[in-house]
Amino acid sequence: MSALLVIDRLRVRYDTRDVLRALTLQVARGELVALMGPSGVGKTTALRAVAALQAFDEGQIVVDGFALAPGAVPPESRLVPLRRRVGLVFQAHALFEHLTALDNITLPLRHVLGKSRLEAETIATTLLSELDVGTRAGAWPRQLSGGEAQRVAIARALAPDPALLLMDEPTAALDPARRSALGTTLRGLRAQGRGLLVATHDAEFARAHADRVVTL
């Protein structure tokens, strides 16, 4: 099975300090890899480097054939293929505060994928329903609970239909019931053939849902 994501000897330095040194991992389609380790060990940095939000100093990242090289982050115009392949769910969700849950999802559908409003709303509504937040389509981000906001954020990240989904500390703000529901959601995503790289320090969650654990 060919790897969807290959991280090879990734090194990231802040000033003179190594945040990541020679991180190597692979994520296959339909596989959930948990990236574990205590706070400050570079889990978020690794995800940001894969999403091209963060420059790296050495190594290589290849997402479904699209390679990122060390050095400054390329301009957005050259990242279009990567953006179609990778979705990122931030720890703080980062939903657009000025848009409703539905419009958070239709935004990339309409303005990046060029879908009509009707088409975009149909897709967004389906995504929200699949993630069990269909009734919250008209809500503003601040009206959503932590779990709801996370599922809307997942729906938004999935809107461009990326093969690889990155998640940063998805269980941090969830109660046990919600954590279990999240596990179910992620299983569904794997079943669709997506690869997942999940940064977490929640060992129990990793044990229950990850195919593999990479410890930093």
Partner: protein
């Protein structure tokens, strides 16, 4: 021992008491403190070229003659006051008598103690030489722009003629620029006192425009004293009569080349009329507030139009500048920063003058356009900083989220950063727009008659600021309050619950 602190305090006290004495005529009772505007220039009052700390002119010598005539070894002491504020200042007690080509009007007679007329002037039209054959009176100026000094009899004549003949009165704050603008074609005629017209012609070496022989009206210069000061006014009248009789006033006028036979005729009339020749004029008519309402409404419309257009320009240019500061290459960032600092660091008044008069050699902008440009470009600098601050206040994670979804930088600005920044910018923007509405009053210095200027004209004519001031304030509030309400409503609507 006297410490440096004590010395400083004593020095400050001395300075203060000296300047207070200059401001307060009661503190220096031996001097006749008189007010005039040296900006008006010769032959009325001007700074003496030989010693600019002194003034000279026929009004200066007239004041000295009056002081001498009042006896008790009095001498005249000059206090500079803006010409349009002479009436208000004399009532405040800043000086005893105002003399600076002050015109005799019924309203002034009704509100203040006014001396008998001491000089007769003619309101004369000045036109470009090529128009002299066609223009003979105000009636020939239909649809033409006619300049004059604001808040004068000439301005009132033009205002009345606007309705009867359809000319366009243009008000200036000084009596030099109207003639400059006549020569360059910005206005088609100037109506002002013959002394001022002749002086302007002399300054231009006798060319550039011609003065029509036939006067449009005749008026008189008077001294103005506080309403309660009638006893002193009567004494001044007695001195003026004496000066007319003994030829000293004639000598003064001859020295300043303003004597002509009409002055002799005026003196005769004054000396042979028991009550001081102003009988007819003293029948002061009450200036009806209602009569000013149409011109106030017109001026309010000008204020609103100037403000709205400047505001649109300020928002547009401000957005461009803010984007420039955040997104443009380094050289453009430097340029936008320089623009913002220069505009914010210099007075709006100066910018108005530069755009209207300074650039007139290169491009002769109509006054209204110059006003909108100056106000709009000035406020754009302030808006730019508000927008920049607001754009920078949008959390970075929101921009990163947009980036991971594949939006381009332009789309992020338009769809995410801009709309979120607008909420942060709304309150300071409203503040700025209300300020702009009020700053639009400054454009009157380049001849645009807006609400405040029209109110000042109205106030001068009725001799009081109470009713005109209150009316003006109400109109400004009527324009600014809805703006604040709208902003509050938008803030409420956009506030994320």
């Amino acid at each position: 021992m006297i410490g440096p602190c004590t010395l400083a305090v004593t020095g400050l006290t001395l300075c203060l008491s000296t300047s207070l004495a200059a401001q307060n005529p009661r503190r220096a009772s031996r001097d006749l403190v008189w007010g005039g505007d040296a900006e008006g220039g010769a032959p009325f009052v001007e700074a003496d070229p030989a010693d600019p700390s002194k003034v000279r002119g026929f009004d200066v010598e007239g004041a000295e003659r009056i002081a001498r005539g009042l006896g008790s070894g009095r001498s005249a002491r000059f206090l500079q006051v803006q010409w349009s504020n002479i009436d208000q200042s004399v009532e405040r007690g800043d000086f005893v008598i105002g003399l600076s080509g002050v015109e005799e009007t019924p309203a002034r007679r009704a509100r203040h103690a006014v001396t008998l007329p001491y000089f007769e002037f003619r309101e004369v039209l000045a036109v470009r030489p090529e128009d002299a054959a066609r223009i003979h009176s105000l009636a020939d100026l239909r649809g033409r722009r006619v300049a004059t000094l604001g808040a004068t009899i000439a301005y009132e004549l033009l205002s009345n003629a606007r309705d009867s003949t359809g000319l366009l009165p243009i008000s200036y704050d000084d009596d030099v620029h109207p003639y400059g603008d006549l020569v360059t074609g910005r206005v088609d005629a100037v109506l002002l006192d013959h002394i001022i017209a002749q002086r302007a012609l002399r300054r231009r070496g006798g060319s550039g425009f011609v003065i029509l022989d036939q006067p449009v009206a005749v008026g008189h210069y008077v001294g103005v004293l506080a309403h309660a000061n009638t006893a002193l006014r009567d004494s001044v009248d007695a001195v003026l009569r004496e000066a007319m009789r003994d030829g000293s006033l004639e000598q003064i006028f001859r020295r300043w080349n303003v004597w002509d036979p009409t002055q002799g005729a005026l003196f005769d009339r004054v000396l042979h009329t028991a009550d001081g020749a102003a009988g007819a004029a003293r029948q002061a008519r009450t200036v009806q507030a209602v009569a000013y309402l149409p011109s106030l409404a017109r001026a309010a419309a000008v204020t609103l139009l100037v403000s709205v257009l400047s505001l649109a320009l300020a928002v547009f240019v401000g957005l461009a500048l803010a984007s420039g500061r955040l997104y443009a290459p380094a050289w453009l960032r430097i340029l936008t920063t320089v623009y913002i600092e220069v505009i914010r660091g210099t007075p709006l008044l100066l910018q108005l003058f530069v755009i209207y008069y300074g650039l007139s050699g290169v491009v002769r902008l109509p006054a209204f356009l110059a006003a909108v440009l100056a106000l709009g470009l000035n406020y754009a600098a302030y808006e730019a900083e508000i927008y920049r601050g607001a754009l920078e206040a949008v959390p970075r994670i929101q921009l990163e989220a947009a980036r991971t979804l594949g939006l381009s930088e332009m789309q992020i600005l338009r769809l995410v950063r801009g709309p979120q920044a607008l909420r942060y910018a709304l309150a300071p923007m409203t503040n700025d727009f209300v300020a702009l509405l009020k700053d639009s009053a400054l454009v009157s210095v380049i001849t645009v008659v807006e609400l405040t200027k029209q109110t000042a004209i109205y106030a001068t004519n009725v001799g009081s600021w109470v009713v005109p001031g209150a009316l003006c304030a109400l109109v400004y509030l009527a324009m600014s309050l809805p703006l604040s309400r709208l902003a509050r409503r938008l803030e409420r609507r956009w506030r994320v619950p």
